[in-house]
Subunit: 418 residues, 2 copies
Amino acid sequence: MRFEALCTGDELLTGLTTDSNTPYFAAKLFAQGEQLQRVQVVGDKREEIIRALQYASAEADVLIVSGGLGPTADDLTAECAAQAAGVPLVERPEVLEHLRALAAARKFALTPNNYKQALVPQGAEMVVHPMGSAPMFILKFGRCIAFFVAGVPREYRYLVDREVLPRIARMQTQEPHRIFRAARLLKTVGLPESHLDANVAPLAAAHPQVTLGFRTQAPENHLKLVASGATQAAANQALAAAEAAARTLLGEYVFGADEETLGGQVGKLLQERGATLAVAESCTGGRLAELLTAPPGASQHFTGGVVAYANEMKRRWANVPDELLGRVGAVSAEVAEQLARGIREAAGSHYGLSITGIAGPSGGSPEKPVGTVYVGLSGPAGTRYQAYSFRGDRDLIRAFSAHAAMDLLRRELLRPAP
Amino acid sequence: MRFEALCTGDELLTGLTTDSNTPYFAAKLFAQGEQLQRVQVVGDKREEIIRALQYASAEADVLIVSGGLGPTADDLTAECAAQAAGVPLVERPEVLEHLRALAAARKFALTPNNYKQALVPQGAEMVVHPMGSAPMFILKFGRCIAFFVAGVPREYRYLVDREVLPRIARMQTQEPHRIFRAARLLKTVGLPESHLDANVAPLAAAHPQVTLGFRTQAPENHLKLVASGATQAAANQALAAAEAAARTLLGEYVFGADEETLGGQVGKLLQERGATLAVAESCTGGRLAELLTAPPGASQHFTGGVVAYANEMKRRWANVPDELLGRVGAVSAEVAEQLARGIREAAGSHYGLSITGIAGPSGGSPEKPVGTVYVGLSGPAGTRYQAYSFRGDRDLIRAFSAHAAMDLLRRELLRPAP
């Protein structure tokens, strides 16, 4: 089966919005064993939409069309679909009823524009749904089945998951040579992309049923493994073998998989050990605490944190002596260690983690250029520090610093408790 | 002139990566007076790429093609371009020289794969550039001028800015009816998108040369104004008039424009007043401090912050009495006020800002469901609080809470100092 997508909307062609819908559908479709072959994006223009519908439906078996189903004048998709299919628009009573119920619930009056949403190409299958006013409809262009869905991401994703993909799955059961897939995203930290690539190079030959993909989401680098097989069990098995091999090759650089986050993994390790954590950060300005508290349940192991921007607050909240600050400067190994030790004591937690550095753009010097960062870690095994020099803008340096700190603690927690 | 784009790469059709290049080009092109008419995305398949090149170049005057210029086996773009144009591939010595210099500088040996990057369609204009190994090339398909650029975002953006857009600008000078544009992004907070839309509805009729676009970047809603004119001065003037009218209609909901951030604007207002700020946050876990310290120079007015997750830390860092916590609970108006007052005193700052709430997914109750948030503000004019009930997941509730707190302080700072 050939799969295509068509996205409509001027906002996609003027750079106002980025299409996040198609990647969402593409990833889910691929996991279901099929690959999107072509995407077209066109603006809110009748002739462009009609032509794109004809071009796609002439070859595709399945087409997903998004956008242009709203009530305003530039919502042209239903009209263009009717014209491309050579059928008239008809008013569907079930849609009218849905629109009236929606208006009553939200206490607004239906305008003439709203009624437009009940006009759909004759012969279309309707899917009225609770996520929005625009109904989804399904229309055949010759042998091509086209799903017309709203472009609002919340509605699009709902419809893809609940209506489009299940229908595709039913079509797949009739495919004689169906491909099954299984996928895993392995997430690494501390490993440049070129090294990740080189480290897993041996996988390709040993696991021919598995394709490798690389994605950088600074400061993380991700490896995607997608296994294909003639049955789901075969795909799962090929994936498991490749994943095990990849984890062996990458070792502790892999901190998690799929939806797991570095902050969440650190939390899980603390939880397993029944340990608590407090943090003291300077240049990252709260980012470290934010990442550690993003996962639900963080209050179980995260005691608290301070953003000790002014030196006075380093002294007051983490007991960093003025004498030390004067002697070695706030951005130093000694202050990183004392911040970690001091916050651990102040919060009465098992671990203390700290960051002090120069995120820039100003504040650098020849001895300590922008990107100089010290991370301190204090715990049952004592107190130590790690020095880094990161490159990039302020935001990137802050991001790399917070990840480096979490990773230092993560690796400590992977060791047996002292 | 008709403008089209073609993006190649299996990773775009399996959902591994999202194309951020085309929105970048589209926005810059639109600002330069032209609109992209169609985008095609295809995978790394010869027949798909050739067909897409032919389909686009048959109609477009200008085509930008990205991806597939690397050294690996699935980089097929140069080969497909030659085939679509009906010319042979030839080896270009200036590219070979560039590749050798690059390899020497980076201390790696050239592989046979690398030499492939010197093979380009006969007759192409070459643009060897320092951002990568793949040269950009320019090829004519009949009257269509096609720019072939690397898909790596860093290289793509560099080439679009320095090579592609200036060449398009030179082509525009020969256009008899050239359109000039001027754009402004107005950023609002605290105003639902439907209200934003309704508030600025009068603009459309009064400013026919200006188009309005809406974009939600929760918790913010943005209004994009794009003015068109026969000269740059006319476009600028139309934009200025529409922007002034929009600002009048939206009032204090507008916190900034274009690259300005809410954290940055709060910082600017504090700076103007020579005032300092400290924060105490609970459910937002550091996000408030992070947003306030993201702009460069935040250390001038941001004294410090605490993430008082455990009640013990609320007592120790912001002097919230155990008795109060026991009586009204950590998520309460009284505790929000005391957190703000206490952190202001502890840090010796002019203002103290606090957040306490339930970000979920657990921890809610019938009286205080998930999404219940209190913001406290303490300053020269006294201490007060504001209550909110947000909907959404944990991340969204944290995001809305931090924005609500910054906005409360921003509005306070817009008033005359007491």
